[in-house]
């Protein structure tokens, strides 16, 4: 059986043109998908012998798991709900409600990837566009601190570099591609210009470019340690001002290195200044399939895009206080519900140590380091393969997932919904 127009929810590109072949109840091919997407489709889900729930590593029924997990959350003083970037908005909406009744914090992967982009938006705003605008109009593409060839393999071919668009009928030939990074990544091959800057010098380069765009003088000494000559910087500023429609794609090389939200703010301000000369947009290269969705759900339900605290019965926002690394690193959270994320494998050691001390409830579609050490682990079905739902592409376009296969396992939405109902009962609220 073939299913067309299937949506890949693996990375922020959310390609929706996948032709999936199903044979004998398994996906055997995913045409149009990149290597990452193919692997997501073909290796989806946990082995069928992985139980739907485990308590302390022992198989349990779904009901037992729910009861145990609900008691754990209801009894916690300061629980944390974390992850959510690889599940549907329908599950995310229930997770926010659960955080609210639990009176703890909810944070998503944004706080460890593009949180600094969110903070820049709060500080200076954001000139941006959808990916179709890039395809139809952009004649200058700049990837900064991003390696799309490996992280978003179809970004260049589907949206930003090779496609022919309404006002770029020549496709690739009609665009100039610049890669800015601290090392020559595989993406450099696809770029016309590679600007290698010294590690930790992004802010200085961005600030100098902004000054040049604003017609100020930049003396050579101030850019000495950036790895780029004054001439190279001036040429780049000039190129950006003279393009017809430019787009700066901001990667984690900017957001997770020295300077963080100073870097992103400098990048956003640079693009803002460029709009005095030409049309220029920017876009954070959001990683996980629906990390953009969880920002959106949190924003519409609570006003804030990540790191939200409900201890006082209403939402509060304070990155550095209510964010995952800090809550765990300071040993504040006393229980954690992890949804569709693997913090044990990805967070700093101090945070992981705390996860080993407190009861962890994990929901995931497959076995991970986090599910392995969780006190209660649920094996859920995969949004985009077993259940439908909504995901948001990196440019905030909402896309509906197609269900391709049946599954006996419950969805994240179902498990979180049941936890919500039970925690409400237990807390009598």
């Amino acid at each position: 059986m073939q299913v067309d127009h299937v949506v890949c929810a693996f990375c922020g590109c959310v390609c929706d043109d996948i032709r999936v072949t199903v044979e004998g109840g398994r996906i055997t091919n995913a045409r149009n998908a990149c290597a990452l997407g193919k692997s997501w489709f073909l290796n989806h889900g946990a082995p069928s012998d992985l139980p739907v729930a485990r308590i302390e590593g022992k198989p349990a029924s779904l009901d037992q798991g729910i009861e145990e997990a609900a008691r754990c959350l209801a009894g916690a003083r300061y629980p944390l709900i974390y992850g959510l970037s690889s599940t549907s908005c329908e599950a995310q909406r229930k997770a926010v409600a659960l955080a609210e009744v639990s009176g703890g914090c909810i944070d998503c992967c944004t706080s460890v990837c593009h949180g600094p982009s969110g903070i820049a938006l709060q500080g200076v705003g954001e000139p941006t566009c959808t990916l179709g605008e890039v395809k139809n109009r952009a004649d200058l593409i700049v990837y900064w601190g991003s390696n799309p060839a490996e992280s978003h393999p179809r970004h260049m071919t589907r949206y930003a570099v090779t496609p022919k668009g309404m006002f770029v009928p020549e496709g690739r030939k009609g665009r100039t591609v610049v890669l800015v990074d601290v090392r020559r990544t595989p993406s450099a091959r696809a770029a016309d210009i590679f600007l290698q800057i010294r590690p930790g010098r992004d802010f200085e380069v961005l600030w100098a470019l902004q000054a040049l765009v604003n017609g100020r003088k930049v003396d050579a000494a101030s850019v000495e340690n950036t790895g780029l000559s004054h001439e190279a910087l001036a040429a780049m500023a000039d190129r950006m001002m003279r393009c017809r429609f430019g787009c700066l794609f901001v990667g984690q090389g900017l957001t997770q290195t020295r300077g963080r939200h100073f870097n992103t703010s400098a990048a956003f301000l640079l693009v803002r200044s460029l709009n005095r000369h030409t049309k220029f947009a920017l876009m954070p290269m959001r990683g996980h399939g629906n990390v953009t969705g969880v920002d959106n759900v949190l924003a519409w339900q609570t006003g804030y895009p990540f790191g939200v605290n409900f201890s006082l019965g209403y939402p509060r926002f304070n990155p550095g206080e209510y964010t995952v690394v800090d809550l765990l690193g300071r040993a504040e959270a006393d229980a954690a519900l992890v949804v569709a994320a693997d913090p044990v494998a990805s967070l700093p050691a101090k945070a992981v140590r705390r996860l080993a001390e407190i009861p962890v409830i994990a929901l995931d579609t497959h076995e991970s380091e986090t599910t392995r050490c969780a006190r209660i682990a649920f094996t859920t079905s995969t949004a985009g393969i077993h259940v439908g739902g909504t995901v948001y592409r990196m440019d905030n376009i909402p896309i509906h997932l197609r269900k391709v296969l049946d599954s006996d396992r419950p969805s994240d939405e179902e498990v979180i919904g049941r936890l919500l109902a039970r925690v409400k009962e237990l807390k009598a609220c």
Binding site: L121, E126, N275, K279
Partner: protein, 547 residues
């Protein structure tokens, strides 16, 4: 079943002006009498003696859901932290002054006696997002207008004279988005903004498309009419917020040539003066035209002094506001369809310009002769938050209050307007018209804005106490679909209202051409574009087209 006895009823659609009447409600509707001899059976009764009974309020132009509103939420933590809303045993928590979270939006409308609201500008490609937020906006019924005034497919069809194909596309797009009406924002200008330009007049050519704003307006007005849409084309004119823009506004009205059309937030489009200079009011000329042309309706877009968030489908306007104020600025260009801009803005009573805008809004209310063709709005949150409607009502009903308010504003600016000479005071009957009966009628909602048999049982009951602002801020009871949801300003039960949408018929042959356009210029598959109504509209209510 519910009986509301002895209330002073204001139901202008049924010519009831403060007479004492009983209202009977059964099955979520207003009924003449309970059938089957149940008249004396047990049912809840509200004794509304000495109270005022009106249909639930209808907000026909606000920005409450979708990508633009949500980006504004993400952008304004400093606004949210001033107004946290704790959870209760029946309601969800939230935040927000000028861009409230979804739950808070629904509760606040309901607590103010409004039971229906429309979002005025949703990008078609993000319709799904607006519906997702609607699913988290409690109590009220809601719908949205679909941005079409800069749609590249539409412009191509206009340029090549494909009128029928364009009309079929409009019908397809309304159905695909689950939208309610055709909206235009700065027609042609937002397309030009994609290369840093703007449309300054109705006959300026939209580069690359061979059309003009005038042709876009005419064509979409025509299509809305031919499709029999319940609400006519909804227009945000070119040149919003620019001195001298009244001529563009007048030209836009004339270009409708007798076709029905609604001009949104007319206050922002009624300025004389030289571009770049001070605003002067041109309400007199425009109101005269509206007064004598029954095909035209308006909502005001009143500004109120204070800090708010400007959010608009008019990208070049937001950029202008950003350049004037230097405050943070969001711009989003949306493929093939539209764009948006967001800037925080503070309206200052000392400012000559802001005072003029404030007075222009009030002049509109006071100079429009037919209240059935003017709706109360603040273009929430552009002019002010919707929670300021009760204060706007007091400004209209209480001459003395208005005089006092004028004294606090910029005196030079006030002196140049006709506001000091306008003595008119709105009656409660007229307030009931501009806050419920008229917007419902302009929207083509036959079951809303009145209390006759068959109407939706959305009813607001006010205590006659204090001034109009107090009275309209905290209704005694708010009834939605026959259920008492609000008592004394607090939500007693959480329900979710319906989503109002249209699904006009069209010739399916058009889809082949649309599909080809998608293949070339969109980044999402044609097959994945239409909103799955069964999934995203938990309580759908289709409103029929007019035959």
């Amino acid at each position: 079943m519910l009986k509301i006895l002895n209330g002073e009823v204001y139901d202008p659609a049924n010519n009831i002006d403060g007479e004492v009447r009983d209202i009977r409600i059964d099955g979520g509707r207003v009924v003449d009498a309970f059938g089957d001899g149940r008249e004396n059976g047990s049912c809840r009764t509200i004794d509304a003696s000495g109270m005022i009974v009106m249909p639930g309020g209808v907000d026909m132009h606000a920005h409450i859901a979708g990508p633009k509103v949500n980006t504004a939420r993400k952008m304004r933590p400093e606004d949210h932290r001033l107004a946290p809303v704790p959870r209760t045993s029946v309601t969800r928590s939230g935040v927000g002054r000028t861009v409230p979270s979804t739950f808070t939006t629904g509760y606040r409308y309901a607590a103010m006696g409004y039971t229906t609201a429309f979002d005025a500008a949703v990008p078609p490609i993000a319709a799904r997002h607006a519906h997702e937020e609607f699913s988290d906006i409690p109590v009220i019924d809601k719908g949205f207008f679909v941005l079409m005034g800069n749609n590249e497919y539409i412009m191509q069809q206009i340029a090549s004279g494909e009128r029928e194909r364009m009309r079929d596309y409009v019908a397809w797009l309304l159905g695909a988005t689950g939208g309610y009406a055709v909206k235009m924002v700065n027609p042609g200008g937002v397309e030009l903004w994609k290369s840093l330009g703007n449309a300054r007049g109705l006959d300026e050519e939209v580069a690359g498309f061979g059309v003009t704003p005038r042709r876009i307006i005419e064509s979409l007005a025509e299509a809305s009419m031919n499709l029999g849409l319940p609400h006519p084309v909804h227009i945000h004119c070119n040149n919003l917020g620019v001195a001298g823009n009244w001529e563009t506004t007048l030209e836009t009205m004339k270009s409708l040539a007798g076709r029905r059309g609604h001009l949104a937030h007319i206050q922002f489009h009624s300025y004389g003066g030289d571009p770049g200079g001070l605003f002067v009011s041109r309400v007199a000329e425009l109101a005269e035209y509206v007064n004598t042309h029954p095909n035209i309706t308006v909502d005001v877009g009143q500004i109120m002094f204070g800090d708010t968030t400007s959010m608009t489908g008019d990208g070049p306007l937001a950029h202008m506001l950003h350049q004037v104020s230097g405050r943070k600025w969001v711009n989003v260009d949306i493929e093939n369809e539209c764009g948006c801009g967001i800037v925080p803005i503070e309206y200052k009573d000392r400012s000559h310009m802001h005072t003029t805008q404030w007075a222009v809004g009030l002049e509109w209310y006071l100079m429009a002769r037919d209240p059935w063709r003017i709706a109360l709005s603040t273009d929430h949150p552009n002019g002010a938050s919707f929670v300021s409607y009760p204060r706007v009502i007091r400004l209209l009903t209480d001459r003395e209050f208005r005089r006092e308010a004028m004294k606090k504003a910029n005196p030079k600016a006030i002196a140049k307007t006709s506001l000091p000479d306008l003595d008119r005071e709105y009656s409660l009957y007229e307030i009931a018209i501009i806050t419920r009966a008229a917007p419902a009628r302009i929207l083509g909602l036959k079951h809303k804005g009145h209390l006759g048999a068959g109407a939706d049982a959305d009813v607001t009951i006010y205590d006659k106490c204090g001034d109009a602002e107090t009275m309209f801020s905290v209704p005694r009871y708010v009834i939605k679909e026959g259920e008492i949801l609000v008592e004394d300003g607090s939500i007693r039960r959480e329900t979710f209202g319906k989503t109002l949408y249209v699904a006009p018929g069209y010739d399916k042959a058009v889809e082949k051409d649309i599909r080809e356009f998608f293949r070339k210029y969109y980044t999402i598959e044609f097959e994945n574009y239409p909103v799955q109504l069964e999934h995203y509209l938990p309580r759908p209510r289709e409103v029929a087209t007019i035959k």
